[in-house]
């Protein structure tokens, strides 16, 4: 059985998102091998009823988006469908820019985002890890759960994703300038 099938089996069994790290450890493989196997699995699942959801750290299996209505009828739990304006703004920034610091989110929104980020973390739509440079600060990323709510399997399926990345890089330079100024 090849690597992609092994990953598929583990994800199927576990039925929750698994980190790259755990998969590598369980399968005794390197990051490189994993990075090669995931697109293979993705490709093999095309045309299937199951799809692979991926963010920067984790992978997960879920039903295909064409099945969503049929399955929605089967589920008993009510899924939230409405997002407030603040949640919407913040999620959009995290989706296109994540991993992104709170300072950057605040800068773009022009307001303090503490409350709204806490709320999104609790709902499991975003996740955070300590900032590489400043351990007291965090950077925020979309969860695979957020992708599944949006019916996409990875971030570059978002509209204009690559165009926006370029624009962001341009803005980023200016933000950096501002930040340096405030620190000095």
């Amino acid at each position: 059985m090849d690597l992609s099938a092994k990953i598929e089996a583990l994800l199927f069994y576990k039925s929750e998102p698994m980190s790259h790290q755990i998969l590598e450890r369980l399968l005794g493989i390197s990051r490189d091998e994993l990075k090669k196997a995931l697109p293979v699995l993705e490709e093999r699942l095309s045309g299937h009823g199951i799809t692979l959801i991926q963010n920067d750290k984790e992978v997960s299996l879920a039903t295909d988006r064409e099945m969503s209505e049929l399955i929605e009828d089967l589920t008993k739990e009510e899924r939230e469908k409405d997002l407030g304006k603040a949640s919407l703004e913040t999620l959009t920034i995290v989706l296109y820019k994540g991993p992104v610091s709170k300072a950057q989110i605040d800068y773009i929104r022009g307001v303090n985002s503490s409350f709204i980020l806490r709320n999104l973390l609790i709902r499991g739509l975003v996740e955070r890890v300590p900032h590489k440079l400043d351990k007291r600060a965090y950077v925020y990323s979309p969860t695979t759960e957020l992708f599944s709510y949006l019916g996409i399997s990875k971030k570059n399926e978002l509209p204009e994703f690559s165009t926006v990345q370029e624009e962001i890089a341009h803005f980023e330079k200016n933000f950096k300038k501002e930040e340096d100024k405030n620190e000095s």
Partner: protein
Amino acid sequence: MVENYRVKLESFEGPLDLLLTLIEERKMHISDVSLAAITDDYLSYLEEAESVHLRHTAEFILVASTLVLIKSRSLLPNLKLKDEEEESIESLEEQLMQYKRFRELSVYIQNHFGKKVLYQKSKTPSLEPVFSPTAEITKSNLLSAIYRVIQSLPKIEYVPQVVMKKMLSLKEVIDSLTERINSALSVSFKEFSGGQKERVTIVIGFLAMLELVRRGVITAEQQKHFGDITMGRAEVDTPHY
């Protein structure tokens, strides 16, 4: 004062949301020209909010002070701004453009969220629980863990919010200023804003003063007042982002 737009202030997510909405309602592009054009509306929103508890008050007021810089420059073209003031104007424009972009992108998120959900398995493997403690579970480790939890509880921030106790209406200020100018004809901005230390009052007073300068009400004294205006402006904090 213009009172065309009567949208509820609470429905705005923050100063950028309000600014962008005002600019878009006028079908303008983001620039210092459009920002100067909507400054009065922006301030009257703030004024109206005086009795309402407004979220992000501090942020709203910081942006107001940048707007006043922009408006002042548009009213007095030969007004020289300091470098950091120029930068705060530029930075506000950039911020707005970026905010606008994300707001456009958020439409897709809004339309798709929860519509076509990819579902995980509804059941997890039913594993029989087996008591499996690890060496980490000791009373002292638990105590330090619960203290980490307590320490990371979000603190209620008692940041002295920029109070918007009493924001004099722009009209009131203009009336009062006009009256005093008529009687004294040599009132200075500093005297005018006198004991009122609240930022918004100063901002509004300052703008009103400029408005009069533009209308020519105090042209005769312009040279003299010009110096005072500069001093008045120095009291207005430059926003930091």
